[in-house]
């Protein structure tokens, strides 16, 4: 073959090669959707549990804390632009035992709870406000009753199972069908979010109180709702005007981390992202999406405070955290979207917000499947999960078995989340568990130049040093420390919900199950002449 062309100071020849399908912009958007503009806990959990904490500052603090972590992922993604993300990074640096135990427990098992949370969000924050809002604005009791049904355990469980089932079907039918649907979900989500922002920014506490009263009257037949909720909250000992608290503000960050920690999720798909080895692309995808989402979430907090006032946020928080039933509407907690729905008299706005929340809620379960089935396939190819998990459907090119396995495994978690007393308190357990995956990956990033020297030196980030120390090592240590502080807050501060015996039992139980699984799988494969450690060990070239 004689064809050779001269490009600027490089000679190339005709040869076939790897083609990556996902554009950096798509990956950027994917991260934003994964971070979940609609995750609501910060806006109710924080005022309820952390009086004196500043929402806006707490969210921005979470964003700042996440930046060094995100930068470590930029370095790792350019050094190892492969699908599998954390599992690949950790196995390369620490070997299979650590990587499998951490990723299997923190991701594969704990993210089953995100499947349940996705269904809960869809039912409670998607369908319920839509029908409650339409019922109120159109004066239709049947719609209001339907909305209330979506807030009950039966409604949420049925919605959650269907939500997971439909997502599995879409993804198994072919990734292209998901990508088409993703475009719809992006538009719907952003439209809803900005509609909500406009509604809240144009509101003020005085007019909002009147709107909330009218909404509560239409939905639950309650008179003078705001004043009643205020009185009940005060009677329950809630301080509606607490002084500023630095500690409380710092503790807002771990809750906001529930969203912002997902800025790195595109790393699971690095093998499919164009220019994944480019620093600029990864900076845009990971750090760019983090800052974009962080600012939007802080704006939402500011808009919410402007619309209803700080005092009412504590009332809404009392309904959620302290169980003050008068501070709910028909038992429904006052999430930002339900407040926005209450403030508008327009069915169109209600529909826009409702559909956006429905789409983003549903999108979350897709993200769970997409990321976790890739990890499961990688684990199966490493012979740590059964062989059938990695089988790919010949016609649709999707790992159908892995999808069905994950769907089936999510069903008991859906029931536990909605029926088992106290399980809701483990909501932020996913943040904690995924948090330890990110923190261990930070450590992997810090050690990459020493434990995987060849990989590091061939990467574009190798040239960045500070005082002779690889910059990724410095960032990795900073990310590890900041992330570890967040984890310690979860482990020791009861206001974040993970200090109960149930929580400790599940967190350490899941870790132990994963470690035992690795041990058993390793020994089973050994009996077949397979050393699973070979999957992770680097062959010395010399």
């Amino acid at each position: 073959m004689a064809t050779a062309t001269a490009k600027p100071e490089v000679f190339t020849r005709k040869a076939s090669g790897l083609v990556r399908v996902m554009s950096p912009f798509s990956a950027f958007v994917y991260n934003i959707l994964t971070m979940g503009l609609i995750f609501p806990w910060t806006y109710l959990w924080a005022p309820g549990a952390l009086p004196g904490g500043k929402l806006v500052w707490g969210i921005l603090l979470a964003m700042v804390i996440e930046i060094p972590i995100a930068l470590v992922y930029v370095w790792l993604s350019t050094a190892l632009p492969r699908s599998g993300g954390d599992y690949v990074f950790q196995s390369r640096v620490f070997g299979g035992g650590v990587a499998f135990t951490v990723v299997m427990s923190g991701y594969v098992i704990w993210i089953l709870q995100w499947v349940a949370l996705s269904g809960w969000l869809l039912s409670y924050l998607g369908f319920a406000p839509l029908f409650l809002g339409l019922g109120a604005t159109l004066g239709n009791t049947a719609l209001s009753n339907l909305g209330v049904w979506f807030t009950g355990a039966t409604g949420i469980i049925i919605t959650s199972i269907l939500n997971a089932f439909v997502a599995a079907l879409i993804l198994i039918s072919g990734f292209k069908n998901y990508v088409r649907f993703q475009n719809v979900m992006i538009v719907g989500t952003l439209l809803a979010f900005f509609t909500m922002l406009v509604v809240l920014f144009t509101g003020n506490p005085a007019s909002s109180a009147a709107h909330l009263d009218a909404f509560a009257k239409a939905i639950a037949g309650v008179d003078n709702f705001v004043q009643t909720a205020r009185d009940a909250s005060v009677a329950a000992g809630i301080d509606l005007n607490p002084p500023f608290s630095l500690i409380a503000t710092l503790l807002v960050a771990p809750i906001a981390w529930t969203s912002l920690q997902w800025a790195t999720y595109s790393a699971q798909q690095n093998g499919e992202i164009k220019n994944a080895r480019s620093f600029n692309s990864q900076m845009f995808i990971i750090v760019g999406s983090l800052i974009f989402t962080g600012i939007l979430l802080a704006l939402l907090a500011a808009a919410l405070e402007k619309a209803v006032g700080t005092e009412f946020l504590y009332i809404a928080g009392a309904g959620y955290w302290a169980g003050v039933s008068e501070a709910t509407i028909a038992g429904f907690w006052l999430w930002p979207n339900i407040i926005a729905v209450a403030l508008t008299a327009s069915p169109l706005v209600v529909v826009l917000i409702g559909i956006g929340y429905i789409l983003n809620s549903h999108q979350i379960v897709h993200n769970c499947y997409i990321g976790m089935t890739r990890v499961m396939v990688a684990m199966s190819l490493d012979r740590l999960l059964p062989e059938w998990v990695s089988r790919v459907d010949e016609k649709r090119h999707t790992p159908a078995n892995a999808h069905w396995a994950y769907f089936i495994a999510s069903i008991p978690v859906i029931f536990l989340y909605n029926l088992y007393p106290g399980w809701v308190g483990l909501t932020l357990g996913v943040t904690f568990a995924c948090g330890y995956v990110f923190v261990v990956t930070c450590l992997a990033g810090a050690l990459l130049p020493y434990r995987a020297k060849d990989v590091y030196e061939a990467s574009p980030g190798a040239k960045y040093k500070l005082g002779g120390v690889p910059l990724v090592t410095i960032l990795g240590i900073i990310g590890f420390i900041l992330g570890a502080i967040m984890l310690l807050m979860f482990m020791f501060d009861p206001r974040l919900g993970l200090t109960s015996p149930l929580a400790y039992g599940i967190v350490f139980g899941v870790l132990a199950v994963s470690a035992v699984w690795y041990f058993i799988a390793k020994n089973m494969q050994k009996s077949r002449g397979i050393n699973v450690e070979y999957a992770f060990k680097e062959i010395p070239p010399e």
Partner: protein, 331 residues
């Protein structure tokens, strides 16, 4: 293993397969060391061993050097920096040549000269690799079988064929014994690609070549088909569909997203379905790391990440015509 030993008294053969190294020095060195590292008896390299890029390292008038690597101009002031660059280019699988500005300009204006330089550098590197394999595998008992792929030039591959080699076997278009029982036939040519690479042919011609090779196999139950092109629609061949009319080829996008398809060979699939060999070793589609069973045949594509200096491969244990275990590796 005791249970296994009772069932099969014969010794298990462990084969390590890797493919599509595209000139990467570091991954080839790992490949040669893989035998000892993984305790494998047989090494098989599945083709596309030639590099794609040649980086002119231009010596400037002030004695410094510059080179364009991955779209970025890099400048080197010292010999240490130059050595660092060449080591990295080896990892990436890029050929390089130090030249002055005049030589670069002359070369740039003459595509035939560039082509000749590519061939020369590729032959030199492949010849060095043969030396390395012979040196490192000498006395180990490990056999290393190497074939070309569609990206490799015929004349460059001729560097593999050398009289008197003890460990390295250039096995393309040959029927070889990988152990006392099992045979392997190897074909590196592929069906047409959008890149119009050096060694392509039609499905019909490839089918005929396979038939000719298959006729040499004494026992299909104990046969390995080492065909660079993977079987069509097997999940070993999934990649984006490309527009062949563009240069370089571009992805076909429908509904805002790339169309994926199976780009493997129909002839390869039909041959596997017809002859039912024990094992199929394939490459070609770097992004489609997968294992599939077509009938009784275990078909493997370990994928390729040569650019990161990572040797992707697959260890396969077999005995008496049966694959008893396999595992993907990422060394």
């Amino acid at each position: 293993m005791k249970f296994f030993s009772k069932k099969n008294a014969k010794k298990t053969t462990r084969l390590f397969f890797a493919t599509d190294l595209h000139g990467s020095e570091r991954t080839f060195r790992k490949f040669i060391n893989a035998g000892k590292f993984y305790e494998a008896n047989v090494l098989v390299m599945g083709g596309d061993i030639q590099g794609k890029l040649l980086i002119p390292i231009i010596k400037e008038a002030n004695g410094h050097y510059r080179a364009t690597v991955q779209g970025r101009v890099e400048r080197m002031a010292t010999q240490e920096e130059l050595a660092g660059l060449t080591a990295r280019l080896d990892t990436l699988g890029f050929y390089y040549k130090v030249m002055d500005e005049d030589e670069f300009r002359t070369l740039s204006a003459n595509p035939k000269a560039v082509d000749a330089l590519f061939h020369e550098e590729a032959r030199k590197k492949l010849s060095r690799w043969v030396d390395l394999a012979e040196e490192r595998l000498n006395g180990t008992g490990i056999k290393c079988f190497v074939t070309g792929g569609n990206d490799d030039e015929w004349d460059v591959l001729s560097s593999l064929k050398r009289e008197g080699t003890q460990s390295l076997v250039a096995c393309e278009n040959e029927m070889v014994y990988v152990d006392n029982d099992h045979t392997m036939i190897s074909i590196g040519i592929s069906t047409p690609t959008p890149w119009k690479t050096p060694r392509e042919t039609t499905e019909e011609e490839l089918g005929k070549m396979i038939e000719e090779m298959a006729a040499k196999v004494p026992d299909m139950n104990k046969a390995i088909f080492n065909f660079h092109d993977p079987p069509k629609d097997s999940t070993l061949d999934t990649c984006p569909m490309l527009d062949w009319t563009k240069d370089p080829p571009e992805q076909i996008v429908q509904g805002g997203q790339p169309v994926m398809h199976g780009a493997g060979s129909r002839s390869v699939r039909e041959a596997i379905e017809k002859y039912k060999p024990m094992l199929g070793l394939h490459g070609h589609i770097h992004e489609s790391q997968s294992v599939a069973r077509i009938g009784r045949t275990v078909c493997i594509n370990p994928g390729s990440e040569y650019g990161e200096g990572i040797l992707r491969g697959c260890l396969v244990n077999f005995v008496d015509g049966e694959v008893v275990g396999y595992q993907m590796t990422s060394g």
